[in-house]
């Protein structure tokens, strides 16, 4: 049997805190991380709640021993560095030095969080000023390249941008590169900092809730935005065992498929979500009834939850517990896939099913409903985690305990 891909280290940062213990604590005690943003300077701050990482740029920079102030590091990069630092602490330094490995990052708007504050300087005739430090930070690869430089790594790099499914795609790419023998290990994930650009973009789509979002609820009224970063180290099971690494989970299946329906809306019958989850099950050689928990995309937009809910119902009936963790973190966009991959692993480790916070009213279109309260002592063997993005980009990942 072919060598399986395993997860052996991870780093995570979100509105819930930093590292696995912070997240385990919050998720198992109904502590959500949403609030009116403190650091994002938007006129919408008093009106909307968001999942902001509760550290200023200076706090993040200081913890990384970087100069504070306008240091040329965008918040996007600072989030990525913080999560990566956690991951790298879990492995022996020489590990990545003498081998081919990949760093596959994902991102939706690069360093827009900084650029948007100085754009008119960017395009003015001015050639000097602190903005010059940020001149190459608008593209999505800026955080990837900064991580590589900061930690002195020499990986194969790639940056993916497929909207809300970006970092789920990064995980798939890492697994495939290992399987093809292109690299021995891969650190995969994504990062996104909130920006006024993104907040106003979603506001222009009129699918943002001012109040805590209510995924899979009849009265859901849109999403809450969030930010964060999450990275996972992937390698072959045999390589992990040979170096005596603790296996956190098996990355046992995945699928990427496209809705081919609409630029932003999912196919209303959930056909795309159904196909993607089914293909992921097939790739893991699992039946629907072997899945113990579904970590849904569950953004709480009218369209997503109807489509995803129908797909879950059609594939799993009402036998598999499902919930969206977006009410805890907000929608962290490009980071969501990897952050929720970490949550999937956490569910298996702690034998818990996270509650779908704020659920009250059964949806008319569905006969199934999400898990409303925390469930403990649930044997969890296989978790499927969904990430669906604009452009019809659908990804499902499956993690297994054994």
């Amino acid at each position: 049997m072919a060598d399986r891909i395993v997860v052996t280290a991870l780093g995570i940062l979100s509105a819930l805190g930093q590292g696995l213990p912070d997240h385990a604590q919050a998720l198992s005690n109904n502590i959500q991380g949403l609030d009116h943003p403190k650091f994002l300077k938007t006129i919408h701050a008093p009106e909307f709640i968001m999942g902001e990482v509760k550290k200023s740029n200076d706090d993040l920079a200081a913890a990384l021993q970087l100069p504070t102030g306008d240091n040329g590091y965008t918040r996007t990069t600072l989030l990525a560095l913080t999560a990566m630092q956690q991951l790298l602490k879990q492995i022996d330094a020489p590990l990545l030095q003498d081998e081919t490995f990949a760093f596959i990052n994902a991102n939706t708007v690069g360093g827009m969080c900084s650029v948007e504050d100085m754009y008119f300087d960017f395009i003015s005739q001015k050639k000097e000023g602190y903005f010059v430090k940020y001149i190459d930070t608008l593209d999505c690869a800026e955080s990837t390249e900064n991580v590589v430089r900061y930690f002195g790594l020499k990986p194969h790099v790639a940056t993916i941008s497929t909207a809300c499914s970006s970092s789920a795609n990064a995980l798939i790419l890492g697994a495939r590169m290992i399987k093809h023998g292109l690299v021995e290990r891969a650190i995969c994930g994504g990062c996104d900092a909130m920006s006024r650009f993104t907040v106003n973009g979603f506001l222009s789509l009129k699918n943002v809730d001012k109040f805590p979002c209510k995924p899979f609820d009849q009265n859901r009224n849109g999403l809450n935005l969030g930010e964060g970063a999450g990275y996972l180290l992937l390698e072959k099971e045999s390589d992990a065992k040979a170096r005596g690494a603790t296996i956190l989970a098996y990355f046992s299946g995945y699928a990427n498929s496209n809705d081919a329906y609409h630029p932003t809306a999912p196919s209303p019958d959930g056909e795309g979500a159904f196909r993607t989850m089914k293909q992921a099950l097939d790739s893991a050689h699992l039946h629907a009834n072997e899945i113990s928990y579904i970590n849904a995309h569950g953004t709480a937009t009218t369209n997503n939850d109807a489509a995803e809910g129908k797909a879950i119902q059609r594939l799993f009936g009402n036998s598999v517990p499902f919930s969206s963790t977006k009410p805890f973190t907000g929608h962290t966009l490009a980071a969501a896939g990897s952050i929720e991959a970490v949550f999937s692993i956490l569910a298996m480790q702690q034998q818990i099913v996270f509650p779908n916070l704020n659920f009250e009213t059964q949806m008319d279109e569905l006969e199934i409903s999400p898990v409303a309260c925390l469930q403990t002592n649930i044997p969890i063997h296989h978790v499927i985690s969904n990430s669906f993005g604009f452009g019809g980009n659908n990804v499902s990942l499956i993690f297994s305990k054994e």
């Binding site: 006129i43 593209d139 690869a141 497929t162 790419l173 650009f197 609409h262 019809g392 980009n393």
Partner: protein
């Protein structure tokens, strides 16, 4: 090692007459202001007429180029769509960003936001072709098209049956982008006519450009197709290391430097990067053709897509357009090596073989 993949068709929208023309760069376009913009075709034949009214230039460029590549390959629904873009849709991003700042976060057009998403071309291509297969977008500066090709090679190697992947790239030049990057020595201060770019290699910077290129690739060996044997992505190496890297890459594919019949190089007149090419070019055989292209396209993160398009064209036309020739050779055009660099410290190699 992965099996080669075969290029069934290639299509380019570029500053030159590369899209739907009956000849191979007979008439060459130039610019005196350091900016080469694409010659825009009539997009309406390739794009849903209801949707096109909202689309920005880059979206139209990418979709039309992708649809045309499929048409040339006689494929209506690809099994996979993989693209690369260094910049995404600059026009949409700039529009939304400037409106957001000037209108103080009120009453903003959703269209610009939606289309500024880096995978919007991918989404539209999937929608128009009804392709529900694997769909991916790479956004890594000078590696964007290379990563797309690498992914396509993996995808086609994973397949048990005959499959087609549509792979492409697009980058757009805007007035704002030109100004922004002029502040970090991207462009020449004293600008020659674009056709003289390569001999103006004593100063820093180059000229700006844009373009789209798409390819239909398959895993089934096809006669008269161009095979992509492999590619290599490099962090900008020293000149000595670069030649070694090239030799190592070639030998992995059973080829030596002397076997290269055509080299297509990304020289762009920037004095800072000449060191990469000089020793390499000196190491080729005298009979090897050496071709350059950035004086025809300008510089942009996915310019190597145009080089790949050129490589495919070489098979269809007997004559090599003289505007491309850096050093003329005598070899038959079988083994082709594309060597490119990008200003943000990367270089890439692609090895092709005419079947």
């Amino acid at each position: 090692m992965m099996n080669p993949v075969y290029i069934l068709s290639a299509c380019a929208i570029s500053p030159q007459h590369s899209f739907e023309v009956e000849n191979f760069l007979n008439l060459v376009i130039s610019a005196d202001d350091g900016k080469l913009f694409v010659a825009e075709p009539d997009y309406r034949r390739f794009i849903n007429p209801v949707a096109i009214r909202r689309m920005s230039r880059q979206l139209k460029m990418g979709i039309a180029c992708g649809m045309r590549a499929l048409q040339l390959a006689n494929v209506s629904m690809p099994d996979s769509i993989i693209t690369g873009t260094g910049l995404g849709s600059m026009t949409d991003m700039e529009h939304f960003l400037k409106d957001m700042i000037t209108l103080q976060e009120e009453a903003l057009n959703p269209t610009f936001f939606i289309q500024s998403t880096y995978n919007s071309v991918n989404g539209w291509l999937a929608l128009q072709t009804k392709s529900t297969g694997y769909n991916q977008t790479y956004v890594h500066r000078g590696f964007s098209i290379e990563l797309s090709l690498l992914d396509a090679q993996m995808f086609l190697n994973e397949a048990q049956t005959s499959k087609v992947a549509l792979v492409g790239c697009f980058d757009e030049l805007t007035a704002d982008y030109f100004v922004v990057k002029s502040k970090c020595e991207y462009w020449k201060e004293s600008v020659p006519n674009s056709l003289n770019l390569l001999s103006h290699n004593h100063t820093n910077g180059t000229i700006a450009g844009e373009g789209a290129a798409f390819f239909a690739l398959t895993n089934e060996p096809k006669q008269l197709s161009c095979a992509l044997l492999g590619l290599k992505l490099l962090n900008l190496p020293s000149s000595k290391d670069f030649l070694q890297e090239i030799q190592g890459f070639l030998s992995k594919h059973g080829v030596e430097l002397k076997d290269i019949d055509v080299a297509i190089v990304g020289k762009n007149g920037d004095a800072r990067f000449e060191y990469l090419y000089d020793p390499t070019l000196a190491a080729f055989e005298v009979e090897t053709h050496v071709l350059a292209f950035k004086h025809l396209t300008g510089e942009y993160p996915t310019a190597s897509g145009f080089a790949l398009w050129l490589a495919v064209q070489l098979q269809h036309w007997n004559q090599i357009p003289k505007q491309l020739i850096l050093k003329s050779g005598t070899r038959p055009k079988r083994n082709i090596l594309v060597i490119n660099h990008y200003v943000l410290h990367t270089a890439s190699l692609m090895l092709l073989q005419q079947q």
